[in-house]
């Protein structure tokens, strides 16, 4: 059991993080695009597309955190304590982003302030998450006792991944809007897609070509043996997705297609990242077996996961079904 359980948990946490990135990603994207909303009514519509589901989407982040603590406590301790300030930044940003959903609709005079809190909170949270990602990829000490300076995570590379994630989430947000809205807002969302594809591809290229200079291990992993042959479809798939998305942005009859394609882009990037990390949970040297909690802990929660995760996915899907379809512009705001 101690052989496969850590691998299964690595899969579970990867799944949880991916669910978070895909689900809260488009909500954060809405916030990033909020800065470009034409007026308060349009922002109302944008926020209303996510109001019933943002809370559930954000719960995947807590699952990722709690799952990491349960299955890989050492990794949890190292990552969070070494990334103290980016984590703080993300949490505070998420606080403001979250309460903005409730407060903005209750405010009249201060409505603009909560719109700003929504936008700034989303941008900051996305940027901080990208920072954390970049800092983890760059590498952290393998021992929680090992001291690092408060700003050890601060690097041009982490800044770049931070900005990249902001653009990436914005792309998800724009394609979500195409799916959920009509009229003027959908038209604007279509206009946002293409510049965001360009920005996202540019950043994927920049980050990918930067990686070998950061750490040869990640590249070795890609080019080891004949692995590259197996993996070579991936960059091609990224390009194919990007081209299809570019074309889908103009097709008025396919509102779901941009959303699915931008999800595919994210999923490909995420899988590439996992391949680069494997078998480490904290690069460069803490493997997932070294960070694993004992089978008594991993097994105990795994049983619960196997039983509860299908139930969770079931009622989450039901909740999305209840709120399916387009929202009507300006409804309920009299």
């Amino acid at each position: 059991m101690s052989e496969w359980l850590p691998v299964a948990w690595f899969g579970v946490i990867a799944f949880g993080v991916m669910m978070y990135v895909l689900l809260d990603g488009f909500v954060l994207g809405l916030g990033i695009l909020a800065a470009f909303a034409r007026d308060e009514a349009q922002l109302d519509d944008m926020m209303n597309t996510a109001a019933p589901i943002w809370d559930g989407n954000e719960t995947w982040l807590v699952l990722g955190g709690a799952g990491l603590m349960a299955a890989f406590p050492r990794a949890y301790a190292i990552i969070l304590s070494n990334l103290y300030l980016p984590v703080l930044l993300m949490l505070i940003a998420l606080v403001f982003r979250g309460v903005a959903f409730e407060f903005r609709f209750k405010a009249v005079r201060s409505k603009r302030h909560w719109g700003f809190a929504f936008a700034a909170g989303s941008i900051l949270a996305a940027f901080a998450q990208g920072l954390m990602l970049g800092a983890i990829v760059q590498g952290l000490p393998a021992d929680p006792q090992q001291a690092r300076t408060t700003f050890a995570w601060f690097s041009p590379f982490a800044m770049t991944t931070g900005v990249a994630l902001v653009f990436g989430y914005a792309l998800l947000g724009a394609s979500w809007l195409i799916l959920k809205t009509e009229g003027n807002l959908r038209r604007r969302a279509r206009e946002w897609i293409r510049p965001l594809i360009v920005a996202m591809l540019a950043f994927i290229g920049l980050v990918s070509s930067w990686l070998p200079f950061l750490d040869s291990r990640i590249m070795a992993r890609w080019f080891e043996g004949n692995r590259f042959l197996w993996l070579s479809p991936m960059p091609i798939a990224v390009l194919v997705c990007a081209v299809m998305l570019w074309r889908a942005a103009a097709m008025r009859s396919h509102d779901a297609r941009p959303f699915l394609l931008s999800y595919a882009l994210f999923a490909l990037g995420f899988i590439g990242l996992l391949i680069g990390l494997w078998p480490n949970i904290v690069p460069p040297s803490l493997s997932l077996w070294e960070a694993s909690s004992p089978p008594s802990s991993q097994g105990f929660v795994f049983v619960g996961l196997v039983i509860l995760l299908p139930v969770i996915l079931g009622y989450t899907a039901w909740s999305y079904r209840v709120f399916r379809g387009k929202i009507e512009g300006g409804s309920g705001y009299h």
Binding site: P52, A70, S81, V108, S296, Y315, E328, S331
Partner: protein, 471 residues
């Protein structure tokens, strides 16, 4: 101030702020389930108006609870990395079960509860409300279990690396203090909500607005408090016996009991004192002989272990524990008085007119929160200097790499952010309370699935308008 103290202050601040919202929403979710059940039963639109009124309050409180809860779930890793590293095998799975069995349930059905009114049938909507309420209870169970294990750890062993490993999950989860702590916490949450509902109703009655719903809500609050407050005092007493058995030093700090009692003298009940830790005695002490032994040990000659039985390095800070406990018990006694006065007035038929009783309800409405926080301080400060009682010191649980500047700046950032969020939240809650329950438009049927649900958190009323035109 050093990193340890700053980190403790930060954790205390973040958790104190957070706990208010879950506590309130645990009770409120059940109240909403009850009200919706009454509505489905009677089909009286009166109940639906009450439902939507409290639903808006619930939405604001729940939102604040969610966002501050996310902060909580990362605090263990950022500030207490060694605790996470050493006790993560035990605490991680408990918190993970909380997320899996409670958070997703609440979040999944909350959307339907708040926004799905027109999109699902009445029965399905009621089911969603019940699931949210159930989620709050399951969440309380797991978080209380994790906390109780840190207070009365068992079912684990410590391996060669000094890391906690679980030998028996049953013993970890159902550790000796869990039943008392869980019952005490859930009752505290229910009473807190009950006092807010009753206090709001009394306030409406005094102002002469929303008379009918206010009368009904006040009656429900009185009945509930009459059951829950005495029950809470009983549970609190049992919890005290449990603390005496498992955390004697904490009990000694609660009582500011420094020295061994003389044989046959029993233990006095210290009503008031200024504990002096250096001199190991109390100043300005007012005490009732023997009563302490009777209450704490259920025996006239009962004794408890004194603080000086352990070296000073093993004692918690006495004064905060001592005073916080007295605040909690004092407010609990006032709640009991409120119940007695209300029942008496009800019997005489003056409950809805008595200015005294109504103002008492009004002024008591925030006391649930204060008692809850005070109780929390007794529990948490009382277990110092340990984070896992008797096994892992708080000072040894701290993240080694964080600096004073980092903790100081994050504490300031949290304090500023929470002040803005809490201040605004209170402002909107106050506005919602000022508006009160208003007749809801009847549910439109047959306008198709494409009609978006009207979000309940939308202003049907101008909230920034003058309070005067709300009557």
């Amino acid at each position: 101030m050093d990193v340890l103290l700053l980190s403790r202050i930060q954790f205390g601040f973040v958790i104190s702020f957070h706990i208010l919202f879950p506590a309130f929403t645990i009770g409120l979710a059940h109240w909403l389930a009850f009200v919706e059940w009454r509505w489905l039963k009677t089909k009286d639109s009166f109940w639906r108006d009450i439902y939507f009124f409290w639903l808006k309050i619930f939405a604001v409180s729940f939102g604040m609870g969610v966002v501050t809860g996310i902060v909580m779930s990362f605090q263990f890793g950022t500030n207490w990395a060694i605790l996470s590293d050493k006790a993560g095998n035990v605490l991680g799975p408990l918190l993970n079960y909380e997320v899996l069995s409670a958070f997703f349930l609440e979040a999944g059905f909350l959307g339907v509860m708040l926004f799905g009114w027109k999109r699902v049938s009445d029965n399905v909507h009621f089911f969603a409300t019940c699931m949210v309420a159930l989620g709050t209870l399951i969440s309380t169970f797991w978080i209380t279990s994790a906390n109780s294990w840190m207070q009365t750890p068992q079912g684990h062993f410590i391996n060669a690396q000094g890391v906690f490993e679980v030998a028996n999950w049953w013993q970890v989860i159902f550790n000796p203090s869990l039943p008392y702590r869980l019952a005490h916490m859930i009752l505290a949450a229910f009473i807190t909500t009950c006092l807010v509902i009753g206090g709001t109703s009394a306030w409406y009655l005094m102002r002469g607005v929303h008379q009918e719903p206010a009368k009904k809500m006040l009656r429900h609050a009185v009945v509930f408090a009459a059951i829950a407050v005495p029950l809470q005092i009983f549970v609190g007493d049992l919890h005290g016996l449990n603390v005496r058995e498992h955390q004697p030093v904490k009990l000694a700090a609660i009582e500011a009991h420094w020295h061994e009692s003389q044989p046959g003298e029993g233990t006095p009940l210290v009503l008031f004192a200024l504990p002096d830790e250096k001199a190991e005695r109390n100043r300005a002490e007012i005490a009732v002989p023997r009563l302490g032994g009777l209450i704490l040990a259920h025996d006239w000659n009962g004794t408890i272990q004194p603080l000086t039985a352990v070296p000073p390095s093993e004692r918690p800070p006495v004064a905060p524990v001592f005073f916080a406990f007295r605040v909690m018990v004092g407010l609990g006694s006032l709640m009991l008085l409120l119940v007695i006065a209300s029942l008496w007035a009800w019997k005489r038929g003056t409950l809805m007119q008595s200015k005294w009783v109504l103002s008492a309800w009004r002024w008591m409405s925030p006391t649930g929160f204060i008692a809850l926080l005070a109780g929390w301080y007794v529990v948490e400060i009382g277990r110092q200097p340990y984070v896992v009682y008797g096994l892992l010191r708080t000072s040894e649980a701290l993240s080694p790499q964080i600096t004073r500047a980092a903790v100081m700046s994050s504490l300031i950032v949290y304090a500023l952010a929470y002040t803005v969020v809490f201040g605004s939240g209170m402002w909107y809650l106050r506005k919602l309370l000022l508006v009160g329950p208003v007749p809801q438009p009847p549910k439109h049927t047959g306008d198709g699935e494409k009609t978006p649900a009207r979000p309940m958190s939308l202003p049907d009323e101008k909230l920034d308008g003058a309070a005067g035109d709300l009557k």
